[in-house]
């Protein structure tokens, strides 16, 4: 596949922009990489959960005695085994958590709030026995009415999940509890005046179904609570340090007593930040004195982890007949699952983020209901709101008879544009992404044939900075061992190593990157928020500069000159009429002094602002309502693509997840609030047969806040697919769907009603 580039950065890089083989590649393709479930510790026991069969129920009693009487059963636990939780909110890097809620999610306290909510657990000498023992734990429930749709949960007479939940709002606090955790409001300009100035106004309502991150590896941990009181946990996580932070708070232990070892991870997408089974494995290990492994089954993963919210949205946008946007208004209700704190905040910030909109108002509601607690999912909240806002933008373009790319170019956010939630953009690349699509062979090609249509849509994601730490040691053979705290999900060992290599003037292969446990490296935030190549890369750059400074001092010492007289260029050190390459100097340095160790610790408080523009051709079978993706092109501003293959991989992966969200993925709830499709058979993620090769255009508008211009690339590509596909379906059929997923029966019905 050929990749197109639109580049503004210097092309003098030696390592950046090349495609070395990834450092962990050989282990991964040969099956030698160690994932958590590969661990088999001596004397290890196995845990299993007891989960609520009801969507909402009072827990009257739990009787573990029958299970405990079984030979081979070692211990049981319930929420009574967890310390009384702190009502304390903490920042986990990609969202906050209240520990009282987290503790109640890990093991239900008093009430089960969703089908699959963990109620108790048991540990036994083998996993089958543990499962059988779990079935012998008797839980008496008193079922309560349940609700799984956000607008139902907001009604005054809706069943209450938490009787102490009082809405946080800018208005006076309500007197009575409800399921509405918070009401957010952003305003800019004057929307009345804005809509009055519009020639055309489009207002539509949208719904999206609950979808899951769908990582292939289920949640899995091994916990070993040792006799000296130290706790060690091997786990699949996006952030070992935030697992440590959560474990310390939930178990009321000092963080120094806890070590988290991050194993290789089979996907996270935002869903492997919160803890689930880790505290339970720890408590069971303390009770039975053995290491305890817990691995979730797939139905447990669907029913009790993730997902992303279901939502209801109303969006209204006005424009002049010349195609200038005048005002926008959004009313957004997202479900948070059973505990407060969903992704409505970023949803509100992202809804109009692609446009220079002079007047705007956004109302957002965070609503609890009887579904699993929602978690971040790749650009959390942005995909929902892009489906609504970009669909309305497209409809305006149609009504005004303006080309959809030209319409967006007339209104695109640029440097200096202020978002409705306040921030003013620095240099960003939305216009360049639009231009890239406009100039693509795909856009210039003709799409002909019946029932075919072409759609385009934009997407935005903030991309985070946050804390990252690395250390790097120079070896006498001229290589550098790089120790980092960022778990590697998408090839970041290599993208970080490449930045260290570029700075030192050595090759990527001469860097040996390792992801370390929480005792072996400084605090590092989650691999999330598209931050790792940016922020941990920045830390690696700092560590490289630190090494370079020490190497120059060592060279001066060897050459008996002033450090100021030593120069370095592309890894060659020169001074006092002598010169040494990095590896020659590394060998000499080793024989004349102490080890050379670089450090980098950063905490950039910035957004790196990713934009993407996607283009899709579809064909609709009007007899079945099935949509086939004929061709797909995704452009994205990467800032600088450190390793273009991984940038392409991220763009393609996100696009495919967005396509799945658009067309078929959904939690199918029955009237009792049970998910009927908690398996990969009936939860329909796209397979390789369902998508064409996603063509990528990497746009490079360097980020001013990074020495190499890196922006994050991981998340934004999931945002544009639903509205792009909705617009393509509209062109193919004349019908605009406003509910996700746009599944075959839904489209068939719409086509039939239209006839």
């Amino acid at each position: 596949m050929s990749t197109e580039f639109m580049t503004e950065h210097s092309t003098e890089y030696k390592v950046i922009g090349t495609r070395p083989v990834r450092h962990d590649g050989s282990d991964k393709v040969t099956g030698k990489a160690v994932y958590t479930d590969d661990l088999h510790l001596p004397n290890m026991a196995f845990g299993a959960f007891v989960r609520s069969p009801h969507a909402h129920a009072k827990i009257v009693s739990i009787d573990t005695s029958q299970a405990e009487d079984m030979p081979g059963v070692l211990a049981t636990c319930t929420s009574a085994d967890l310390p009384d939780p702190w009502d304390k909110v903490d920042d986990l890097g990609e969202g906050c958590v209240n520990y009282a809620h987290l503790s109640g999610n890990v093991l239900a306290r008093g009430k089960a709030l969703y089908k699959g909510h963990a109620v108790a657990a048991v540990v036994a000498t083998d996993s089958h026995l543990a499962e059988e023992a779990a079935s012998r734990i008797r839980v008496e429930y008193e079922p309560l009415p349940a609700t799984t749709w956000v607008l139902d949960a907001m009604k005054e007479d809706a069943p209450l999940l938490h009787d102490d939940l009082i809405t946080h709002t800018l208005d006076d606090a309500p007197a009575k509890p409800s399921n509405i955790e918070s009401h957010i409001r952003f305003e800019k300009g004057n929307i009345e005046e804005g809509f009055a100035a519009a020639d055309v106004i489009v207002e539509r309502e949208f719904k999206t179904a609950t979808v899951h991150q769908g990582y292939i590896e289920p949640h899995v941990s091994v916990a070993s609570w040792n006799e000296d009181g130290r706790l060690k946990i091997w786990t699949a996580t996006q952030g070992s340090f935030v697992v440590r932070q959560q474990m310390a708070a939930l178990l009321k232990m000092p963080i120094s007593q806890i070590t988290i070892v991050p194993c290789e991870i089979g996907g996270g997408f935002g869903g492997k930040i919160s803890v689930y089974e880790q505290p339970v494995a720890a408590v069971l290990s303390r009770k039975c004195g053995r290491p305890v492994k817990i691995i979730m089954r797939r139905d447990e993963v669907f029913e009790a982890t993730g997902p992303t919210p279901g939502s209801f949205m109303r969006v209204k946008i006005g424009a002049t007949k010349e195609g200038k946007l005048t005002a926008g208004e959004a009313w957004l209700a997202f479900d948070a699952g059973a505990f407060p704190g969903g992704v409505i905040g970023p949803g509100c910030m992202c809804v109009f983020s692609c446009y220079d909109l002079p007047n705007a108002a956004v109302d957002g509601f965070d609503v609890v209901l009887n579904k699993p607690k929602t978690q971040a999912y790749r650009a959390p909240g942005s995909t929902h709101v892009a489906f609504a806002a970009e669909s309305v933008i497209d409809e305006l373009a149609v009504q005004l008879d303006i080309d959809p790319i030209e319409f967006r170019l007339k209104n695109a956010a640029v440097e200096g544009t202020r978002r409705v939630d306040g921030p003013v953009y620095p240099r960003v690349g939305l216009v360049e992404c639009l231009e890239a699509v406009k100039n693509s062979e795909h856009w210039k090609s003709t799409l002909s044939g019946p029932n075919r249509g072409r759609g385009v849509a934009c997407g935005f994601w903030f991309n985070a900075g946050l804390k990252s730490s690395v250390t790097a040691s120079v070896n006498p053979d001229g290589t550098v061992t790089l120790v980092e705290g960022s778990t590697d999900i998408g090839g970041t060992r290599t993208s970080i190593a490449m930045q260290l290599a570029e700075t030192l003037g050595i090759s990527a292969e001469d860097v040996i990157p390792q992801v370390a446990d929480t005792d072996s490296v400084g605090f590092t935030d989650v691999t999330g928020g598209s931050r790792t190549t940016f922020a941990t890369g920045l830390a690696a750059h700092e560590a490289a500069l630190d090494i370079q400074r020490q190497m120059m001092e060592r060279a001066a010492q060897i050459w008996e000159c002033d450090t100021g007289d030593v120069e370095v260029r592309e890894g060659v050190y020169r001074g006092n009429d002598e010169s040494l390459t990095f590896s020659e100097l590394a060998l000499k340095a080793d024989s004349v002094g102490e080890a050379i160790i670089g450090r980098g610790a950063v905490d950039p408080q910035v957004s790196t602002n990713a934009f993407a523009v996607h283009l899709v051709d579809v064909e609709v079978d009007p007899e079945t309502g099935k949509v086939t993706i004929l061709r797909y092109t995704a452009s994205q501003d990467a800032g600088t693509a450190i390793h273009p293959s991984y940038v392409e991989g991220q763009i393609q992966g996100g696009s495919v997840q967005g396509i799945g969200w658009a067309l078929n993925e959904e939690y199918f709830y029955d009237d009792d609030g049970h998910v009927r499709n908690a398996s990969f058979l009936d939860y329909r993620m796209p397979t390789c047969y369902d998508v064409p090769m996603i063509e990528t255009i990497i746009v490079e508008v360097p980020n001013p806040d990074h020495p190499y211009g890196v922006r994050g690339v991981g998340e934004v590509s999931i945002v544009p697919p639903p509205p792009a596909i909705a617009s393509a379906i509209q062109r193919a059929t004349g019908i605009r769907l406003t509910d996700l997923p746009m599944s075959p029966p839904k489209l068939w019905r719409a086509i039939n009603n239209g006839e």
Partner: protein, 290 residues
Amino acid sequence: MIDFEYTAPTQLDDAISQLSEAGDRARILAGGTDIIVQLREGLQSADLVVDVKKIPELTQFEFTAGQDLQLGASVPCWQVYENSEISAAYTALTDAVHIIGGWQIQSRASVGGNLCNASPAADSIPALIALDAVAHIAGPAGRRTVPASEFCTAPGRNVLEKGELLVSLTLPAPGPHSGSAYQRFIPRNEMDIAVVGAGSYVRLDSDGQKIEQARIALSAVAATPVFAEEASNWLAGQPISEDVFAEAGELAKKVASPIDDMRGPAEYRTHLVGVLTRRTLATACERART
């Protein structure tokens, strides 16, 4: 998964006596692609699992062009589609076994097992019914035969009595000027369960202008896969045309009594019966003419 005993007899009689002895608590394993999942997920439980893959009668298949096909109950899907003579003669079955799971599943899963599993949405069963297959059963009381169209009795249930097992299937020689096809509708393109499945068989007159005989069968629209008898009979003597296929589709809808579930609403499934009947008849006729 709760522990169970496992046996793998090499003689049919041994299998029958082991199954008889364990009664309701016995389950049969051929490819294992359904039963292992069901045991693991607690949908089934067993004290004894009898692996029938080592019994020669169940793993054999014989075919001579122009004659009936004898297909052992444990013969995996891939052996059907990899055999060029069988796959050419029984195209509806070939269509079906090509889309049961991915190739790893097709390497294990058997046509007989797919029939015994009696899923309303099974892919191979409409093909077997359309091709007029007959099931050969052995048990403590001896042998008997049951048409494929009568083999399934309810979701997950079949006519096998205590101690009985499916030994083989007979698929009649398809005859000259005949063709068959199976299609299912799924929201994705692979690795999915039929929202609706349809199998059609036609035999044309020697000019290839008229339908002499037809058999249409459907899946995922009733408690068991069903034979659309009225539609099939009506087709005999009809000319080949889109209108005729469409009318057959309308008649086929009469045997559909689908449910609403996560795989599709009832109204939509009934509609798809018409679409798939039409499409499979068109393909079957096209194949009959070439």
